[in-house]
């Protein structure tokens, strides 16, 4: 198995008998989308929008009323349901660990069903526990009741990955843990995905989680209709409808900023000087620059503080005591949203970007972030428009 496989919904509809047909909670209406191999696609929407139904049709826990679902180009309806499920990882919100089996027993579930011998199962389970950050010697023999919520969910992920399936289905996997643990698990999954490169279908009702986790985001709305499908940036920059605009929120501009990092910006060079430098010369250089402050740095270029242009002495040398204020230190991995938040919090015009050793690399201002947002948004809108023109299926390469 291993590797990854694309997942395609081809005009998939699920109606429930009895009540209003397509309007029933959980119904899905003519869903078509393609998730390329190795990508995370997040299905997001309000409750009852059919996102979980869509997920469960992939491993045939639910059968569609009409339409086809292809995994790796092969129609799932043509495959034996039991064998299909053993080849697709499945993680659910309540985890569903088997309470009567140990951690290692739970992780070995699918390999056991596939008939692997005990030694191979054990090797694989140990490897997976390490992968999800659970020390095998400490955790292998525990029962699920002896684990914290976060640990249970890690075991759930390890169980889903045990037979190295090309596709992973995750139904609100981090919905039941507290926000701090959730963020850690999200980050761990993204880190794992860098090396695993599985095709992951991920269901959530949380738009922030969708934006964070998804290479692609499928926004679904009541009645099981696909409201918009594309990379998160495109959805935020150019919501396809009022529903999507409301769903992603009035702060979608800020959310877009959380998708990019400081290294996306061309930094503004800082005028710097060090204690002991000639004050007159530093003053002349500072006044020649539009930015009204001189940044005092140490011999290693590490920032010490700001000196306002007018406060730079006309004679003598610069001293550390002259530095009157400081700015938040940012690094290249800081998201633009965090950078802006810290500028607002510190009530300063510019943040100082430093490298790993703390050396000054340049400055970031709020204005630079606004400019970046404006320019990239125009590009994303154009890309979304292009995607619409070919029926809402494209936009994949932009991810």
């Amino acid at each position: 198995m291993s590797g990854a496989a694309s997942v395609t919904f081809d005009h998939v509809t699920k109606r429930y008998p009895g009540s209003g047909g397509a309007g029933t909670p959980g119904a899905v209406n003519d869903l078509s989308l393609e998730v390329p191999a190795g990508k995370i696609c997040v299905l997001v929407g309000p409750s009852g929008c059919g996102k979980t139904t869509s997920l469960k049709m992939v491993n045939r826990l639910i059968e569609p009323t009409s339409g086809r679902i292809l995994v790796g180009g092969e129609d799932v309806a043509a495959r034996d349901a039991i064998e299909l499920r053993r080849g697709i990882g499945y993680v659910i919100q309540q985890v569903g660990l088997f309470p009567h089996q140990t951690v290692v027993g739970n992780v070995e579930t699918v390999p056991r069903l596939l008939g692997w011998d005990a030694a191979r199962r054990h090797r694989r389970a140990t490897e997976l526990l390490e992968l999800v950050g659970l020390e095998p010697s400490r955790y292998a023999a525990r029962y699920p009741s002896q684990l914290s919520g976060g640990e249970r969910q890690r075991v759930g992920v390890a169980r889903a990955l045990a037979a190295d399936p090309p596709v992973l289905l995750m139904d609100e996997p981090f919905g039941a843990v507290d926000p701090i643990v959730r963020e850690r698990l999200q980050n761990e999954l993204l880190r794992l995905q860098e090396s695993l490169a599985k095709t992951i279908l991920f269901v959530t009702h949380d738009i922030d989680e969708a934006i964070k986790m998804g290479d692609l985001v499928a926004v679904m709305q009541a009645g099981g209709r696909l409201a918009q499908f594309g990379p998160p940036d495109e959805i935020l920059a150019s919501p396809a409808s009022d529903f999507v605009a409301r769903f992603v929120g009035a702060d979608r501009g800020l959310k877009r900023l959380s998708l990019s990092r400081v290294d996306a910006l061309e930094l503004m060079p800082a005028v710097t000087a060090s204690p002991g430098d000639d004050a007159a010369e530093a003053r002349r250089r500072a006044l020649a620059d539009p930015f009204p402050y001189l940044l005092l740095v140490d011999a290693e270029q590490r920032p010490l503080g700001w000196i306002e242009q007018d406060d730079i002495p006309t004679t003598g040398v610069l001293t550390e005591e002259l530095a009157a204020a400081m700015s938040p230190l940012l690094d290249r991995r800081t998201t633009l949203k965090d950078a802006l938040a810290r500028l607002v919090e510190a009530e300063v015009q510019a943040g100082i970007v430093v490298d790993r050793a703390g050396r000054t690399r340049g400055l970031v201002t709020a204005e630079m972030i606004f400019d970046w947002s404006r320019q990239t948004k125009a590009a994303a809108v154009a890309s979304a428009a292009g995607a619409d023109a070919v029926g809402g299926h494209a936009g994949v390469s932009a991810g």
Binding site: N59, R85, I92, V95, G96, P99, V110, Y143
Partner: protein, 217 residues
């Protein structure tokens, strides 16, 4: 007063009647468990069966034991079967309630995870549902065993061939001999407590995961 000398002189009888008591209890509880298990699985799979099953076993439970034990004599004669059939009928209600509750207690997310992992329906039943229902099934066995041990004494009604430790009670009543009544009653209680404790040990052994603080070796 209790005549310990008499008891000392009848140790052989005591052993025989204790074994008979255990024998009738085991046969009845075993048969009751087997029948109830079938009825319970049916009730869990086809919910519509649950109401009638509970109603009938509840109705059987209301029949006075003094009436039910002699009832089968014309049909099955004075055989063990005559003693065992009522015991089995009385155990059904206890068993079915507990076994169905056991299967109902299996969390739906566990079943969903099992289905999603690719268990066959039969595999899921044997590897997931049954083990998880086991604590309540064993709780049912404990209740049924204790209740049956009490009822076995009534089989003494059918004659000296039956009764287990109840034989002493019936004989004591006939001769107004308190020592025998005491021996039969206390023996039955000790047996019930002993069997219950043994079943607790079995439960611990079979469901280590259900004990708090447990860790597999």
């Amino acid at each position: 007063m209790i005549d310990f000398g008499w008891i000392g002189g009848h140790l052989g009888d005591l052993v025989f009647r204790t074994l008979q008591h255990l024998y009738l209890t085991s046969v009845a509880v075993g048969a009751g468990l087997a029948i109830s298990f079938g009825l319970s699985v049916l009730s869990v799979r086809r919910r519509i069966a649950f109401g009638p099953v509970i109603a009938i076993s509840g109705l059987l439970y209301t029949i006075p034991s003094l009436a039910l034990f002699p009832f089968f004599v014309p049909i099955t004669g004075l055989t063990d079967l005559t003693a065992v059939i009522p015991l089995v009928l009385y155990s059904l209600l206890i068993f079915v309630r507990n076994i169905v509750a056991g299967f109902d207690a299996v969390p739906t997310d566990v079943l969903e995870a099992a289905d999603g992992s690719g268990y066959t329906p039969f595999g899921r039943f044997g590897s997931i549902e049954l083990p998880l229902a086991l604590p309540l099934v064993i709780a049912g066995v404990r209740l049924a065993a204790v209740s049956t041990i009490g009822l076995v004494t009534i089989t003494g009604l059918l004659g000296d061939k039956f009764g287990g430790l109840g034989f002493f009670i019936f004989e004591g009543l006939r001769h107004s001999f308190r020592t025998e009544i005491f021996l039969g009653g206390l023996g039955s209680i000790v047996l019930a407590v002993g069997v219950d404790l043994a079943l607790v040990a079995v439960q611990r052994r079979l469901t280590p995961w259900a004990s708090p603080g447990a860790e597999a070796g």
